[in-house]
């Protein structure tokens, strides 16, 4: 449980938000060309990092907008929040 600084609404309790999992997983550009292995990689495989993770969140009980977050999963500390469509910051 922590406080999240929504880029549109400001600081709100985490329970207003829905976690959307790993960020920057791009939908395959040519789905028809994909092998089963590539589909599995896209659909199911996750980094599930212990440490700095890039992820998506949705302010489900607020503005309902999506945004990206950089969070340390070993202590739940939020490092950075940036909008959808923006490039992920380098380490």
């Amino acid at each position: 449980m922590f406080v999240i600084n929504c880029p549109y609404c400001g600081e709100r309790d985490q329970q207003e938000f829905k976690a959307g999992g790993e960020a920057h997983i791009e939908r395959p550009k040519q789905p028809t060309e994909l092998s089963d292995d590539e589909w599995a990689e896209y659909l199911f495989m996750r980094k599930n990092i212990k440490g700095i993770q890039f992820e998506r969140w949705n302010h489900a009980h607020g503005c309902r907008k999506w945004f990206n977050m950089v969070r340390d999963t070993s202590n739940d500390e939020i490092k950075l929040i940036y909008k959808m469509g923006e490039r992920p910051p380098s380490e």
Binding site: Q15, F44, M45, R46, K47, N48, I49, E55
Partner: protein, 417 residues
């Protein structure tokens, strides 16, 4: 050779104030090389080592554990054991475990306090009723004892449940598996550790894995905080940290690690002599032999390795408990804790070979791995020893995420994940 535990040894040791009990397992330094190394000294890992030594005659085995044995999810769960899963593959897997539970204390000469007090699952809406009836039929076709109960029968089996029709989520019925129940989680880890140690397994605690050394497509050994250990076979049973170990070997797994919470109340006199689970309102409760109510809450929806969860998750569970059991309204909670559970997209485990030769994973048990401990150890030992899965865990391979042949127990497993 281990001394046998019996009522006579208990009396004998009472005369020396219980100060001269034999050590249950040694505390060895790691050797340079093992035939097989198990990563993770929880119940599943220790059981794997035990069955490797016992059933597959392997001699040179080590279990490496970064903390102390049974200090992770083995000591953090709500100890519920059942096998009433919907799909054939799951029913086979979990009932295999339940059959081993039934003779485990005798086999290990260690009282794991397995108590077949029954597990009841409640239905709160029409869809629940249909799902639970369907699951009862599926269970019976698979030879698993299951019965469907009416509201009156639920009330008769567990009189403290509020079955009034005017509560927010009224009890419309339920299922009961009488062979299901609970066991003492610490004793399971300790019993397997003692049994494995007796057969020559080295249990190495405070030894964290820092890397997996590969030579091409094969495993060469593991880097640990106690130095490099050479081995050709590595069985990873690291629960919430499985992805961390997989990343060391350059693999990705279909797992997300999330905090799952549980809590216990102050101890009271016997009030509930079974296990009651409610999927729809998310309230699981049983009573420990000490008298504490043992309550299982849900997972948070974000990835975290912090072993603590959000307050509102516990609050939601306690709201549901209070509506179903008004008699608990003045109970005080004693302790609350979290564990990190590794959840698969289909809520079924992975007991599998990998693309790296000699590297095996036993993970993805999510919120319900404790019940499977003996079966998981037995089948994973078979998989490692033969380099092929047993027919009971063949469906739980890593390749199912490529082939699409998932064992979808989300919602079907009588429990919310």
């Amino acid at each position: 050779m281990k001394n046998n535990y019996s009522v006579f040894s208990l009396i004998k040791n009472a005369f020396s104030y219980h100060e001269n009990w034999q050590r249950a397992w040694k505390d060895p330094a790691p050797k340079k090389e093992y035939d097989t190394v198990i990563v993770g000294g929880g119940g599943h890992g220790l059981a794997t080592a035990y069955y490797l030594a016992k059933k597959h005659n392997m001699k040179n085995i080590a279990v490496v554990e970064k903390g102390w044995i049974g200090g992770g999810n083995t000591g953090r769960n709500t100890t519920i054991i059942r096998s009433n899963y919907l799909w054939d593959a799951s029913a086979g897997l979990y009932d295999h475990a339940l059959k081993i539970w039934e003779g485990l204390s005798q086999e290990l000469n260690y009282n794991v306090m397995f108590s077949q007090r029954g597990v009841m699952n409640l239905a709160h809406n029409l869809q629940d009723v249909r799902d639970l009836k369907r699951r009862t039929h599926a269970n019976r076709l698979n030879g698993i004892d299951a019965v469907y109960l009416s509201t009156e029968e639920v009330k008769k089996f567990c009189p403290i449940i509020n079955t009034s029709p005017d509560i927010r989520y009224p009890v419309l019925g339920g299922t009961l598996q009488r062979r299901a129940g609970t066991a003492r989680h610490d004793a399971v880890a300790w019993g397997y550790a003692r049994g494995a140690d007796e057969m020559g397994v080295d249990i190495i605690q405070n030894c964290e894995v820092k890397g997996i050394r590969r030579k091409g497509d094969s495993v060469e050994g593991i880097e640990t905080t106690k130095g490099f250990i050479k081995t050709k076979k590595v069985g990873v049973v690291a629960a919430g940290h499985s992805s961390v170990i997989a990343n060391m070997a350059g693999l990705r797994l279909p797992l997300e690690s999330k905090p799952l919470q549980a809590l216990v109340s102050e101890p009271v006199k016997p009030i509930i002599d079974t296990v009651v689970m409610s999927n729809a309102v998310h309230a699981y409760v049983s009573q420990s032999d000490k008298g504490e109510l043992v309550i299982g809450a849900g997972t948070d929806d974000y990835v975290s390795y912090t072993q603590k969860g959000s307050h509102q998750i516990v609050e939601g569970t306690l709201n549901a408990i209070l509506e179903l059991y008004p008699i608990f309204s003045r109970m005080r909670m004693l302790r609350q804790w979290g564990g990190i559970v590794d959840i698969c997209p289909d809520a079924s485990p992975i007991l599998s070979k990998t693309s790296v030769k000699g590297l095996y994973f036993n993970c993805g048990w999510g919120t319900g791995g404790f019940k499977a401990t003996p079966g998981s150890g037995d089948l994973f030992a078979h998989t490692i020893a033969n380099d092929e899965p047993h027919k009971l865990n063949a469906a739980f391979n890593l390749n199912r995420f490529v082939s699409g042949d998932l064992v979808d127990e989300h919602g079907a497993a009588a429990v919310a994940h």
